[in-house]
């Protein structure tokens, strides 16, 4: 999978690059809108990560130009502004997803994967860990074939854990991704939320899937090592 990361902040670009490469993506980076236009039209990329504020040509105009030329490459927009108007504009112009800074690289990767899955017409929106299967399309959760009803928040929490199965997610990441860190709840709030999720996902079953990573946060995996 080749991804072009267009981001003028070099450190942010480097972080994204490292995160993506760690997960097996081939990453090219450029820091300037005009250069990005040349490379995006010359080379075949599977996806673009595109910042909005760029020197040369800004992200929105780059997006507009690519779509005007019927270039279907999946694009995830990044912006420093959480402005809804800008998000709507970006999505209307044909961006596939949108992420506001500050974002977590794990989240970006999850979004990127989702976008790529959609491009491939991959209908299987199903993820599974052990005997737990989660269908992100129908929002159906099952264990051992038994359907489990989750509230919206519980589902979002499960989704957050499932983004990186096998590696721990910190409490801060959970509160940011699930609640968009809207309140200063402190971290034991996350513990309460996880406890509730466990009551539905783990407690009725003999194998536990959600584990505590001491000091760090939580991890979802099939077996405790």
């Amino acid at each position: 999978m080749r991804v072009l990361v267009v981001e003028d902040e070099r450190k942010v670009a480097a972080l994204i690059q490292a995160g993506l490469e760690e997960r097996g993506f081939a990453v090219s980076v450029c820091h300037d809108g005009n250069e990005a236009w040349e490379r995006a039209t010359a080379e075949p990329f599977d996806a673009l990560v595109l910042d909005i504020m760029l020197p040369g040509r800004d992200g929105l105009s780059l997006l507009r130009k690519l779509r005007a030329e019927h270039n279907p490459v999946p694009i995830v927009m990044l912006t420093a502004r959480g402005d809804v108007q800008e998000r709507i504009e970006g999505l209307n112009l044909g961006a596939d997803d949108y992420l506001a800074k500050p974002f977590s690289v794990a989240e970006l990767i999850a979004r990127l994967r989702a976008v790529l899955r959609r491009r491939d017409g991959e209908v299987s929106n199903v993820l599974s860990v052990g005997d737990l299967t989660v269908n992100f399309g129908t929002r159906e959760v099952k264990r051992e074939g038994v359907r489990i009803d989750l509230t919206q928040r519980e589902f979002a929490l499960l989704e957050c854990l499932l983004r990186t199965p096998g590696s721990p997610v910190t409490r801060v990441e959970i509160s940011q991704q699930v609640w968009n860190h809207q309140f200063d709840a402190g971290t034991n709030f996350v513990d309460v939320a996880v406890k509730r999720l466990r009551q539905k996902i783990d407690d009725p079953f003999s194998t536990k899937l959600i584990h505590t990573a001491r000091g760090l946060g939580y991890v979802i995996r099939e077996e405790h090592p």
Binding site: G19, K101, P102, S167, G215
Partner: protein, 451 residues
């Protein structure tokens, strides 16, 4: 009380009052003077007449009884009597009353005698006889009364006219000031770019208008700067925060760190999260400040669903803090507004209500549907908010306890207030709430007017 009169009324009243006083002084003075001159003229006349009569009667005493008096042709307002040494009236014109003659003989005069008729009389001794001359004051009195009457009617009339003139002139010269006031009143934080009209009159009003405009320009500039500063600052903070967050996450993900290092990184991550929240809230406030009049993303929101979702979060917050929450949301609530902002408003209130509570405390979140509005009451059993802190509760960066025991940053209620304002509603801390609970009450109109 007069201090509260409009300038126009004050000027009119002053004009009327001053004119009245002037006319009164002038009138009294003039009338006294006229009266005095009339008397003096009468006295001169009396003396003249007396001399004339004396001459007519001849120098050598009275003619004998029955002798024809020389013809005396007097003006009708003059009367006389000739009295001898024994005080017998030898001759008299009929008009002069007997009582007047008697008093003149006793007192000499000149003096005023009333009734019948009004007379000025004086006795002139012309030995061996005394000539008493009377001058009828009827005519002068009529003139005098006429004058008094004219003053009584004309004076108030003149005062009223001057007062009206003052009122009119004040009104017409204050007109531009009033228009200035109206325009200035309509200028608020949302339309600081508006300016008041400058009348080309070259007077103080024009001066005032241009001074007002330059003040508005300065105000506008500093408002814009403050807004832009908050927005720029939080934008600029986002990039380094992204980097910090990413670096910390990358380190944590390596999985080969010793537990103490990991713990420190987690703590660092928590602080980064706090910074992010502050930056985000500042940006939100800046955005609410700049769009205080309009909600760009307003739509019809099914408030019931939104509230149920928020209450789910609220319950989790509550149980994390050992607090129980009870909510009551009627069916079919809807409202026009920005769903994200409304969610934030409710969440902040529930967050506060559970945070500033005591272990085992309670939170009650009730929604009420009124005719035109929706009322949300969020009450908690936390310690009572001291009266002196209440007015500052909605200030930015205000903390109720001034300790850093709680993790809040003091923007929550300020944001609630701005969100309520943006929806043309309000938020208040209810005074004398039942059972001594701290009760925040939000009132939001169902429809945004003008939408």
């Amino acid at each position: 009380m007069m201090n509260r009169w409009p300038v126009r009324t004050k000027i009119a009243a002053a004009c009327g009052l001053i004119t009245s006083i002037l006319l009164l002084v002038l009138g009294v003075g003039t009338l006294t003077n006229i009266h005095q001159s009339q008397i003096e003229a009468a006295d001169v006349e009396l003396a003249t007449e007396a001399r004339l009569i004396a001459r007519l009667l001849g120098g050598g005493g009275l003619p004998s009884d029955g002798a024809e008096a020389p013809p005396v042709d007097f003006e009708p307002w003059v009367a006389f009597a000739v009295v001898d040494a024994e005080r017998r009236i030898r001759r008299s014109s009929d008009a002069l009353p007997f009582s007047a003659i008697e008093r003149a003989l006793e007192e000499g005069g000149p003096l005023n005698i009333e009734g019948p008729g009004s007379w000025r009389v004086q006795a002139f001794p012309e030995p061996p006889q005394i000539i008493v001359v009377g001058y009828s004051l009827e005519e002068s009195h009529r003139h005098f009364l006429g004058l008094v009457f004219a003053y009584l009617i004309g004076g108030p009339l003149a005062a009223a006219m001057v007062a009206f003139a003052g009122w009119w002139i004040a009104g017409s010269s204050l007109g531009p000031v009033r228009r200035l006031t109206e325009t200035a009143r309509a200028i608020g934080p949302t339309n600081l770019h508006h300016r008041v009209p400058v009348p080309e009159t070259g007077d103080e009003v024009q001066d005032l208008a241009s001074v007002l405009n330059s003040m508005l320009t300065r105000l506008d500039r500093s408002f814009q700067q403050a807004e832009r500063f908050a927005a720029d600052a939080s934008h600029e903070l986002r990039t380094p925060l992204t980097i910090m967050r990413g670096e910390i996450e990358a380190l944590l993900r390596r999985g080969d760190l010793s537990p103490p290092v990991e713990a420190r990184l987690v703590s660092l991550q928590e602080e980064t999260q706090r910074l992010e929240r502050v930056a985000e809230n500042l940006l939100l406030l800046a955005r609410l400040d700049s769009t205080a009049s309009a909600l760009p993303h307003a739509e019809n929101v099914v408030l019931g669903n939104l509230a149920a979702e928020v209450c789910e979060d609220g319950e989790m917050l509550a149980s994390a803090r050992g607090v129980t929450i009870e909510s009551k949301i009627p069916e079919g609530l809807w409202i026009t507004g920005d769903p994200e902002l409304l969610r934030r408003l409710l969440l902040n209130l529930l967050d506060n209500a559970t945070k500033y509570n005591q272990p085992g405390g309670k939170v009650r979140c009730h929604f009420y549907e009124r005719d035109e509005t929706i009322e949300i009451s969020v009450a908690n059993t936390g310690p009572e908010i001291p009266a002196e802190l209440r007015p500052r509760l909605f200030d930015r960066f205000f903390r109720a306890d001034d300790s850093h025991l709680h993790t809040g940053h003091g923007l929550g209620l300020a944001i609630c207030q701005e969100i309520a304002r943006a929806h043309r509603g309000e938020i208040t801390l209810q005074e004398d709430s039942p059972e001594g609970w701290n009760t925040f009450r939000v009132t939001l109109p169902k429809r945004l007017s003008g939408k």
